[in-house]
């Protein structure tokens, strides 16, 4: 089929429910949206509004009850788990609120891990450049447990960026950070994304962050209410 290539991400009528019977919660309720390539989109909403679930579905971390997610025209849920994982590591970078670094690996290893998983060669120079950029050039051998929150998140960003994925999904990346670190982290993400022409979709509840976005989508009760 012919796909509109300027839309990197198309969400079609996505539904995801948790629980059963009376306890059933529609975390994502017939949501549809399109995101353009190269743009910074912020998804805002109260906690429990289903924005995280939406992001996880977009990233293929979970499978929906109905609906489709197309990334670069490809229906990701039509892929088998194995292919989905491969697709994810090639196309999508994740940044989580609680960093999710691997505690047994040092900063450098954490960053190059996605490359290793993809059997790709590591170019020393690339990694060093990224390390300088995130300001952790002197901490390449540090273990995650001695890093501050900002440093951890910057490492996580570097990890998400190292494979140059087309789509970066960030789930409240600054939720655990103070406002200055937050500003720094967001600036970093934004500039990296614009530098490489990547698309950034970020969940946030912070007004200031949302301002920096090219587009803000508000979600309430699993539905897009404001675009």
């Amino acid at each position: 089929m012919k796909t509109d290539i300027s839309k990197i991400l198309v969400v079609e009528d996505l539904v995801k429910c948790y629980g059963t019977g009376e306890n059933m919660v529609r975390a994502v309720d017939h949501t549809s949206l399109e995101i353009e390539r190269g743009k910074f989109t912020a998804i805002v909403g109260r906690s429990g509004s289903g924005k995280s679930t939406l992001l996880h579905l977009i990233g293929g971390l979970d499978r929906p009850d109905a609906g489709k997610v197309r990334i670069e025209g490809k229906d990701i849920f039509a892929l088998k788990d194995e292919r989905l994982a491969e697709f994810r590591r090639k196309k999508i970078g994740f940044v989580f609120q609680d960093y999710n670094l691997i505690p047994s690996l040092n900063v450098w290893e954490n960053i190059v891990l996605p490359l290793g998983l993809d059997n790709r060669k590591v170019r020393r120079q690339d990694v060093e450049e990224v390390l300088v950029k995130i300001g952790l050039a002197d901490k390449a051998e540090a273990m995650p447990n001695v890093l501050s929150g900002g440093q951890k998140q910057r490492t996580a960003i570097a990890r998400a960026l190292i494979t140059r994925p087309a789509l970066i999904l960030a789930d409240e990346p600054t939720g655990n950070l103070d406002s200055q670190t937050e500003l720094e982290v967001i600036s970093l993400m934004k500039s990296c994304v614009t530098d490489f022409g990547q698309t950034l979709v970020m969940i946030t509840h912070d007004e200031m962050i949302a301002q920096m976005a090219d587009r803000v989508i508000e979600i309430t009760d699993g539905k897009v209410v404001n675009d």
Binding site: H56, G59, L61, D62, R63, D81, E82, A85, E86, R88, R89, K90, G93, F94, F96, N100, L101, I102, P103, S104, L105, N106, W108, E109, V112, L113, P114, L115, G116, L117, D118, N119, K121, V122, R124, A140, E141, A142, M143, N145, V146, R159, A160, T163
Partner: protein
């Protein structure tokens, strides 16, 4: 319910999967702890019961006791029961023999003899006979009938002229199958008959006695008492006959209890290691839990109590289950043991009979109590350290730190790029202690298994039989040195008219299938440093074995040519067990007995060697046959080793048997009998060892299961993270497989490597000890392969199972997972 118990109980339910593992470990431990003593005791009990039935009940008998001494002995306070037997003489029968004995009522009971019908003889002309005797006499009769009996009376140590007398049958004894076969019978006569026929001073009674057994004396103590009494009453050592089998069957052998204790200690150790390691592995994970508890006000004591009670709660479920399983297993095992033995002699049959009749109570309450108590101790020991660790947790640290409890470095050189393999290295290096503990705990069992397997694999029944019997058949004179009744069976007597002569050899060689006969000669020697009652022989080995003799020398050097000189000998190592002072170069001044002739001769121990009992025939001073023959004026051939073309040929055996029976003075031993014996005994022991080790192995596999499951559980979130950034399921599977492979390979290398290395010295030890007549080292390939295959299989299944269970949750559920 107390709060701590309540919490402990809830905890137990919450950590179900781990506690099922611990529970299984406890069940298996309990089972082993129950099965080992139960089967041990059961076997012993069965044997005792069989012994009690088959053997007479006297502890000892003194021979040649006169009436005076009898009276004195009877008054001895250590003797609780005694009976008298007086041998009057033998019936004069053509081919059969029938002893005419006077036996009093007590002795009847101690011998476990009883009359089928009728009464004991009281009057002089009364006699109790058996059907067999009547048949031999060619007469018939019933109680009250008279029979004519020709007999010879024992007088002054020899049989008198034949007399004839009419006896009235007063009772009947039962003929055993064996007595029918051997045509040896017993007839009972009255005391009056004995006293009438033999002068008072010549009557030599046999005094059967039982020693006072209050206070549960050991066999050694009872034997000591019997000897003490004998010494006090001037009864020579030769006249004492101790009923060893009966004593062992009824009184505890001092070696038995320590052996059981050692085995139970090993089991306990395995249990402690396993349970501890299961706890250790999951402890880090639970530190937060205890930290929280502390934060809401639990004291150290309470935390300790919670951990302890949780363990005990599991034990409360697992111990009864283990006892139940143990009850079933030990029953089955006992049955297997009792029936596995292929030799079908009366003893084994009796054991089977007793077992089937259920006459022996295999299970007794103290075994259950013991197993339960020891298991609880095991659980407690394995909990001591986790309790301590849990109590030490600081609340703040536990709450804050996700990886509390481990001290990780702040910086570390890393890999420039990562592969799955390197990722695995990192994971394992992350908690080296845990990885090492797991591998070592498993390897310990593996090493143990390999060592035992080495010994068992070396125990090849064929080789053992080869070692214990040279050739396929062995013909030897019926020699008894200390039998007063058969002085003609002394070697010195046999030498004078040796049935193993040229004619016999020709006869044997002529039998079809016989390929050759090797003759070993022998001469009795005595003197320093050998003890008087110890019989030692010069063993004349034919030249054919020169190579083997020289090859198996362990110390010193000597050639067969030198041995031919007659003044050099090789001492077998076995001799050194009795006389450890002997060494190469020692010169022994010995008296050589050749028939009635004796002469002094000096021998030099030129070397010490190690040979199978087939070669030595328990005669440990080895020299050339030529030299021995030269020393002797008689024919000192003692053993004919017959080599045949087949391992066993019943026709050949029959032929040899005929020859032996015809002579009446030689006996026959076959390679096959030994082979069967070795085979069955090794099979039983092997099965027992492998069952035992198998259960131990299961316990240690549990350890592996736990480590793997736990390493995944703890890292559930981490694995989710890695998957979120692009690890595919197959990569995850590969990673888990590799991690498991580390444990498996680590265990494998250590157990097979170390086990094989350690196996060799153990083999040497077993060889020196003459265990199973082991002679050649065989690497236990089969076991090594099975161990490797099992480990790999377990680990593959485990990794597959685990990764499936991991995949069950979606990635996002795993990332959110926090516990």
């Amino acid at each position: 319910m107390k709060m701590t118990t309540r919490v402990a109980f809830d905890n137990m339910k919450y950590h179900r999967s781990r506690n099922i593992l611990i529970g299984t470990a406890i069940i298996l431990t309990t089972m082993l702890l129950f099965v080992v003593p139960t089967v041990g005791k059961g076997m012993v009990d069965l044997q005792f019961a069989a012994t009690n039935r088959l053997y007479p009940a006297w502890h000892a008998l003194y021979r040649n006791v006169n009436e005076n001494t009898v009276r004195k002995l009877a008054a001895h306070h250590d003797i609780t029961r005694y009976g008298l037997r007086g041998d009057a003489g033998y019936m004069n029968l053509e081919e059969a023999s029938a002893a005419m004995l006077y036996v009093d009522q007590e002795a009847m009971e101690l011998y476990k003899w009883s009359l089928m019908e009728g009464n004991m003889p009281v009057k002089e002309d009364e006699i109790a006979v058996s059907e067999g005797i009547l048949d031999e006499l060619g007469q018939q009769g019933d109680i009250g009938d008279t029979v004519k009996v020709p007999y010879q009376i024992f007088r002054g140590g020899e049989l008198d002229l034949t007399q004839q007398k009419e006896f009235r049958i007063c009772g009947f004894l039962k003929d055993s199958k064996e007595s029918r076969e051997k045509r040896t019978y017993i007839a009972l006569v009255s005391e009056d008959f004995l006293r009438n026929e033999i002068p008072k001073e010549e009557i030599a009674f046999r005094f059967l006695l039982q020693i006072d057994d209050t206070g549960d004396p050991t066999t050694d103590e009872i034997e000591q008492k019997i000897r003490d009494i004998a010494v006090r009453f001037g009864i020579p050592e030769n006249d004492i006959n101790i009923n060893q089998d009966y004593l062992e069957a009824n009184y505890v052998d001092p070696v038995f209890i320590p052996a059981i204790i050692v085995i139970m200690a090993v089991i306990m150790l395995a249990g402690v290691i396993t349970i501890y390691s299961i706890y250790y592995v999951s402890m880090n994970h639970r530190i937060q839990e205890f930290g929280r508890m502390k934060a809401i006000g639990a004291t150290k004591r309470q935390i300790r109590q919670i951990v302890l009670r949780e363990g005990m709660c599991i034990a409360a479920f697992a111990v009864p289950a283990g006892l139940l399983a143990g009850t079933l297993v030990s029953g089955v095992v006992l049955k297997i043991f009792a029936t596995a033995s292929e030799t079908n002699n009366g003893y084994v049959k009796m054991i089977k009979e007793i077992l089937e009749a259920g006459e022996i109570n295999i299970y007794s309450w103290w075994e259950y109590l013991l197993a339960a108590a020891v298991t609880v101790c095991t659980v407690y020991f394995s909990l001591v350290r986790p309790m301590h660790v849990a109590a030490k947790v600081s609340e703040v640290e536990a709450m804050r730190m996700q990886d509390a409890g481990r001290k990780s470095k702040s910086r570390r050189k890393g890999y420039e790029y990562l592969t799955i393999g390197r990722l695995v290295c990192r994971n394992l290096a992350e908690d080296k202690k845990k990885s090492v503990i797991t591998v070592l705990a498993m390897a310990a069992t593996g090493v143990f298994l390999m060592i035992v397997a080495t010994v068992l694999s070396c125990a090849d029944p064929r080789e053992s039989a080869d070692g214990s019997v040279l050739g396929q058949y062995e013909i030897f004179s019926d020699i008894e040195e200390n039998n007063k009744e058969h002085p003609e069976r002394k070697w010195s007597e046999v030498q004078k008219d040796n049935p193993l002569n040229e004619a016999l050899m020709k006869q044997v060689e002529a039998i079809p299938g016989v390929e050759g006969v090797d003759v070993f000669s022998s001469l009795h020697v005595s003197g320093e440093p050998f003890m008087e009652e110890d019989m030692n022989f010069l063993n004349g080995v034919p030249e054919k074995y020169a190579g083997e003799l020289e090859k198996n020398i362990v110390k010193g050097k000597v050639t067969y040519e030198e041995l031919k000189s007659g003044d050099k000998v090789i001492a077998d190592r076995a001799l050194l067990f009795h006389y450890p002072d002997l060494d190469v170069g020692d010169r022994l001044k010995l008296t050589v007995h050749d028939g009635d002739r004796t002469f002094e001769k000096e021998f030099e121990i030129a070397a010490i060697g190690q040979y199978g009992s087939g070669l030595t025939n328990y005669e440990y001073l080895i020299m050339a046959k030529e030299a021995v023959d030269q020393m002797s004026e008689y024919n000192s051939s003692k053993f004919f080793h017959v080599f045949a073309d087949k391992d066993y040929d019943s026709k050949l055996h029959e032929a040899l048997k005929e020859i032996a029976d015809a002579s009446g003075r030689i006996e026959l031993r076959t390679w096959k009998e030994d082979y069967e014996l070795w085979k069955s005994s090794q099979a039983v022991i092997g099965a027992a060892c492998y069952i035992f080790l198998g259960i131990l192995a299961v316990i240690s596999v549990l350890n592996l299961v736990n480590t793997m499951i736990n390493s995944v559980r703890v890292r559930k979130k981490e694995l989710g993270m890695i998957q979120a950034i692009g690890m595919s399921d197959s990569q995850l599977m590969k990673m888990l497989q590799l991690e498991g492979l580390f444990y498996t390979m680590g265990t494998l290398f250590i157990s097979v490597g170390l086990g094989s290395l350690a196996g060799y010295p153990v083999f040497l030890y077993a060889k020196n000890q003459g265990l199973f007549e082991i002679s050649a080292y065989h690497y236990p390939v089969k076991v090594a392969v099975i161990v490797a295959a099992t480990l790999l299989l377990v680990q593959l299944l485990l990794a597959a199972g685990i990764s499936r269970s991991v995949r069950k949750d979606s990635i996002i559920e795993r990332i959110r997972f926090s516990d």
